[in-house]
Symmetry: C2
Subunit: 256 residues, 2 copies
């Protein structure tokens, strides 16, 4: 199975690194940004290109890890009908390939990938989907080389999976951003929050998120909520978010 | 140092357990709820009471871990002037003791405590404050018996510390709650999100929260945001939170 990686961002970099480690054959890396293509090509020790006309046409599978908005334009130009084409996006239906090529699918890794931060790929859940049984087996083969957790999931459910991940990861991280705005302004080292942040995540191994909910809003501690709101009164963004989330936590605690 | 615990909730339970483990002498447990007093008294193997008149008057320190709204009423009744009185609340100023007793302070553990979930107390940061140097030393002595991280912090900064913890812990956990609402409705096991949740927290050991921010809003992926909003259109609570946080993440990403 010869692989061409279309894209050289965080997902492509982490996937490519994991494939290489497991001895999968990466034929080439493409990125529309010359510098990114070069960096990932060198990292993986494989040729790279930055115009779609130069994409190697002899691979067995083309894996697309490009911005959702570029995906359709990119695959329309690549279109190598003998190969499998698979994207890695959470919110793009598999049908995006339908009119362009006969064998296609999705490899969606449910993880947050950042530069300079290694990932235990073995533990990452991958959600695959395919145009046909044979293609599904090929995708499962590639995924199973790097991860112990490969599941089949429809486009419709993958979209919901991705949406839940936005809450569990992106919005969660934004709560860390807001917490760090407060500690920075107070001259407190953000790192003292780390045991709390770790424990908040770790709790979910023992309790449901609803059971794990603590804090002023969960116990309807109006006095504390009012004190907090007063502190945030002239910080529009923090104030609005604090108010909406507290109100919402209180409601859901009461409805239980 | 003989200790009386005023309160028998999550904080009192975890503190009491840690004190006992380190051989500190707990004289008695008080809770206004007979059942809670009994449970914690039995757990710690010490006498308990549920009326303030029965509180043992011969302790060296009274540690209050009661709801903020009960704190003042409780300490007004306990008032044993020879002893140290310390509360454990993030958002209550130390001055709450001022007119009731001469030696007082605060022991604020920055952690989320839930029933049936053990904590590594050694790693929990404690923020102390005291009416005088001697009292401060006594509080530091007690805290240092159970934790490696004892800091002095003013009431004003402790309030900001607590507020940042609401974002880093309570609101973060609420994001997990909302994620689980989506997976439950989709018939997907919430546990597939665990590696993502763990990694989102773990990343902060390597990156600042702002550097770690990923997702549709961070990359201004309007198409995906619109798809997500459409899914949430008839879920008022999720829709409002998704919209506000996405808008806010986008703005802060652009301002960098």
């Amino acid at each position: 199975m010869k692989i061409v990686l279309i894209g050289a961002g965080n997902v492509a970099t982490h996937l490519g690194t994991a494939f290489k480690k497991k001895g999968l054959e990466i034929l080439q890396v493409y990125s529309r940004t010359q510098e990114s293509a070069k960096v990932l090509g060198k990292l993986l020790g494989v040729p790279y290109c930055f115009t779609l006309e130069d994409v190697n046409t002899s691979a067995d599978i083309y894996i697309y890890a490009v911005k959702d908005s570029f995906l359709e334009a990119t695959l329309r130009k690549v279109c190598i009908p003998n190969a499998i084409h698979a994207h890695t996006a959470g919110s793009v239906p598999m049908a995006v390939f339908e009119n362009h090529t006969p064998r296609y699918g999705v490899i969606y890794p449910l993880q947050t990938f950042s530069k300079n931060k290694e990932i235990k790929m073995k533990e990452v859940p991958f959600f695959i989907e395919a145009s046909d049984k044979e293609t599904e087996e090929k995708l499962r083969e590639i995924v199973s080389a790097v991860s112990d957790n490969c599941y089949y999931l429809s486009s419709e459910k993958r979209l919901l999976m991705h949406l839940s991940a936005v809450f569990a990861c992106n919005f969660t991280n934004y709560m860390y951003v807001l917490a760090s705005e407060i500690t920075t302004e107070a001259g407190i080292d953000f790192n003292v929050l780390m045991p709390l942040i770790k424990e908040t995540a770790d709790k979910l191994n023992y309790l449901t998120p609803a059971e794990a909910q603590t804090g002023p809003a969960a116990r309807s501690d109006e006095k504390t909520i009012e004190i907090h709101k007063k502190i945030l009164a002239n910080k529009n963004n923090l104030y609005r978010i604090y108010s909406l989330l507290s109100e919402s936590i209180e409601k859901s605690a009461k409805s239980r």
